[in-house]
C-alpha cells in the first residue's frame, strides 16, 4: 500500500463519515441516543440509505466509464455514450406526456427501462455483424443519442408548464430516498457488478491493444466486446431508471485514477474507479444538499460543475 492509496482511503472514510450529517434539516449529534428523536430518524432512515445508494451509483458509473474508455480506446467515452440514458429519459417523458405518470411511478419506470431494453436489443443486432468495429459502436451510440434526444425535446415542447418533482429536474440526476433494505440490496448489487467485472476483466486488457493483437492474446474481440456492452448497458439502464442521468462521474473519475494510481491492469483500474467514483458522488451529494437548504440541487449539476474543471486538469496533465 503506497502513500497515495492511503491518503485516498483516508479521504474516502472521512467523506463517508461526514456526508450523512449534511442535509436539508440540521440534525444533532446529541439527539442520536434517542431512537424516537428527529435526528435519529432522519439519520438512519433517510441519510444512511441515501449514502449507500450514492456510493453504489458513483462506483458503478465510474466502473462502466473506465470499461468503455478501455474497450473503445477513447478517453471521451462515458456510460451514456451508447444512448441508453436517452432511451430511459424518453420512456419516462412518454409516460408523463401520454399517461400522466410522473417520475417515480411503476409505469414510468417500466417505460423507461423498457425503451432502454429495446435499444440494447438493437445494439446486439448491430454488433453481431462482423463488420462492427469499436468506432462503429460509438457512432451507433451517437446516432441513437441524436434521435432519442430529438424525440425527447419534441415531447418536452408540449409541456409549457414545469411542476415540482418534475421530470426536467430529474434529468439532471436525483438521488432517491429509499428504505434501508432496498439500499442494502442496491449496495450488494453494485458490489456484485464490480466483482463480476473485475473477475472477467482480462479480455479488456487485451482489447485495449487492438482487435488483431487481442486475438494473439487469446481474446475473441467480437464476442468479448459484445458481452461487455450488453452487460454494462443493462446496468446503466438500471442506474438511469433509478436516478436520472448523472454526468461526468463516468468520464472524469477513470482519468483521475489513471493519473494518480497508474493502475497496471484493468482489474486495478476498476476497483480504483469504483471507490473514487463512490467518493466523488458522495461529495457532490453532500454539496448539493447543503448550499441552500432545504433546496436540493440536482446532483448531476454539482458533478458537472466539479467534474468539468477536473476534466480540464486531466487534459492538461496528459499533454
Amino acid at each position: 500500500m503506497n502513500r497515495k492509496t492511503l491518503i485516498v482511503a483516508a479521504l474516502f472514510l472521512l467523506v463517508v463519515a461526514a456526508v450523512p450529517w449534511l442535509g436539508a434539516e440540521p440534525i444533532s449529534f446529541l439527539e442520536m441516543s434517542n431512537p424516537t428523536s428527529l435526528s435519529y430518524r432522519i439519520f438512519w432512515e433517510l441519510r444512511i440509505p441515501r449514502l449507500l445508494v450514492t456510493l453504489s451509483l458513483g462506483g458503478v458509473l465510474a466502473s462502466v466509464g473506465s470499461t468503455y474508455q478501455s474497450l473503445f480506446r477513447n478517453p471521451l467515452c462515458e456510460p451514456y455514450i451508447l444512448g441508453i440514458s436517452s432511451a430511459v429519459l424518453l420512456g419516462v417523458v412518454i409516460a408523463e406526456t401520454f399517461f400522466q405518470q410522473k417520475v417515480g411511478t411503476p409505469l414510468s419506470f417500466l417505460f423507461g427501462f423498457g425503451l432502454a431494453l429495446m435499444l440494447i436489443l438493437l445494439l446486439m443486432i448491430f454488433t453481431s455483424s462482423t463488420k462492427f468495429s469499436s468506432d462503429r459502436v460509438i457512432l451507433f451510440g451517437m446516432g441513437a443519442n441524436f434521435v432519442l434526444s430529438a424525440l425527447l425535446f419534441l415531447l418536452l415542447s408540449f409541456q409549457t408548464q414545469s411542476v415540482g418533482g418534475g421530470t426536467l429536474k430529474w434529468f439532471f440526476g436525483f438521488l432517491p430516498w429509499v428504505e434501508t433494505s432496498k439500499a442494502v440490496w442496491f449496495g450488494f448489487g453494485s458490489l456484485l457488478f464490480l466483482i463480476l467485472l473485475m473477475v472477467f476483466s482480462r479480455p479488456i486488457d487485451a482489447l485495449r491493444l487492438g482487435d488483431s493483437v487481442a486475438r494473439t492474446l487469446g481474446v475473441s474481440p467480437l464476442v468479448s466486446r459484445n458481452s461487455y456492452l450488453v452487460f454494462t448497458s443493462l446496468v446503466v439502464a438500471i442506474t438511469v431508471s433509478v436516478s436520472g442521468t448523472i454526468g461526468f462521474v463516468g468520464l472524469v473519475v477513470p482519468q483521475v485514477c489513471r493519473i494518480i494510481f497508474r493502475p497496471s491492469s484493468m482489474r486495478s483500474l476498476l476497483l480504483q474507479s469504483f471507490l473514487l467514483g463512490a467518493l466523488f458522488l458522495s461529495v457532490a451529494d453532500g454539496i448539493s444538499r447543503s448550499i441552500i437548504p432545504p433546496f436540493e440541487f440536482p446532483v448531476g449539476v454539482i458533478t458537472t460543475l466539479l467534474g468539468g474543471p477536473l476534466f480540464l486538469i486531466t487534459l492538461w496533465k496528459k499533454s
Binding site: 478501455s70 480506446r73 491493444l209 488483431s212 493483437v213 486475438r215 494473439t216 487469446g218 497508474r262 491492469s265
Partner: protein, 245 residues
C-alpha cells in the same frame, strides 16, 4: 517445441473489404525457424498479408497450414491463435499512464493466474528479456514519458516476449535510430530456429543482410518469393525496382 513452418495454398487476401484486384492465388512455403522479410511499397498489401496469415478478416479463402497442424488458420479459435502467434501492428495502441513493466506483462496475459499474477518463471523471463533488450531502465516509467523510439522498442518487446513461436512484425523499426535498427535486426536474427519471424519492412539492406527468405509485394500482387540469394540476382531486382536498375 520446434519453430513451425508455414504452408500457404491458394490464398486469396482481401484488401480493406474489397475483393483482390487480381484473382491470383498465392502459394508459398516458409521453412521452420526462418527470418522472412516482406518488402514492397506502401499500399502493396504487406499489412493485409500479415493479418491474413493469422486468419484475420483479410483472409478470404485458401489454406494456411502452420507447423504440422491439419486445420487451416482461419478456423482456429482465439486460444489457439494465442498459442502460436504474436503480432506487432504498424501503429500500436497504448495507455499513456501505464508503466512499461505493466505493458510488458501483457505478453503473458493468456497465462496469468487467477489473481492476475505472473508465475515465477514468467517473471524471471520478463526480467532477463528486459536486460537483453535494454529495457530495464524503463520498467517503472510511464509509456507517455518515453520517446517514440523507446516506446517502439517496448511494443516490440511485448511481442517478442510472448511465448508464441510465430512472430509477425509490421514495420517494427519505425521511429528507431539507425544503430538501434541494426541491433534489433541482429536480435531478430538470433531468434532463428527458436521462432519463425516474418517482418514487413521498407528496409531493403537489412533484409538482404539478415533474412533467409524474401517476399516482394507490389500493387497487391506477389511479385517474388524465394531465398535471399535468389532475390539478389539482378533480373529479379530489375523486376521489382525498374527505376533503380
Amino acid at each position: 517445441m520446434k519453430a513451425p513452418g508455414i504452408k500457404i495454398k491458394n490464398l486469396m487476401v482481401g484488401f480493406s473489404e474489397h475483393l483482390p484486384i487480381n484473382q491470383i492465388k498465392w502459394e508459398l512455403d516458409i521453412n521452420p525457424g526462418e527470418l522472412v522479410g516482406i518488402i514492397g511499397p506502401n499500399g502493396s498489401g504487406k499489412t493485409s498479408f500479415l493479418r491474413a496469415l493469422m486468419g484475420d478478416e483479410t483472409f478470404l479463402s485458401g489454406e494456411i497450414l502452420i507447423g504440422g497442424e491439419s486445420e487451416s488458420v482461419q478456423s482456429w479459435s482465439s486460444k489457439k491463435i494465442s498459442q502460436h502467434f504474436s503480432y506487432l501492428p504498424q501503429e500500436s495502441f497504448f495507455d499513456s499512464f501505464q508503466e512499461t513493466e505493466a505493458y510488458l506483462r501483457l505478453a503473458f496475459l493468456p497465462r496469468l493466474g487467477l489473481l492476475g499474477r505472473m508465475s515465477q518463471e514468467n517473471s524471471a523471463q520478463l526480467d532477463s528479456f528486459a536486460r537483453d533488450f535494454e529495457l530495464s531502465s524503463y520498467l517503472k516509467k510511464r509509456l507517455q514519458d518515453l520517446s517514440s523510439g523507446e516506446r517502439q522498442r517496448v511494443f516490440l518487446g511485448r511481442v517478442l516476449l510472448q511465448p508464441s513461436q510465430m512472430v509477425l512484425l509490421d514495420e517494427p523499426t519505425n521511429h528507431l535510430d539507425p544503430n538501434v535498427v541494426e541491433k534489433t535486426w541482429v536480435f531478430l536474427k538470433n531468434q532463428k530456429n527458436k521462432k519463425t519471424v516474418l517482418v514487413a519492412t521498407h528496409d531493403l539492406s537489412q533484409v538482404e543482410r539478415h533474412c533467409d527468405r524474401v517476399i516482394v509485394l507490389s500493387g497487391r500482387e506477389m511479385l517474388f518469393s524465394g531465398t535471399v540469394s535468389e532475390y539478389q540476382t539482378r533480373e529479379i531486382k530489375r523486376l521489382v525496382f525498374p527505376f533503380t536498375y
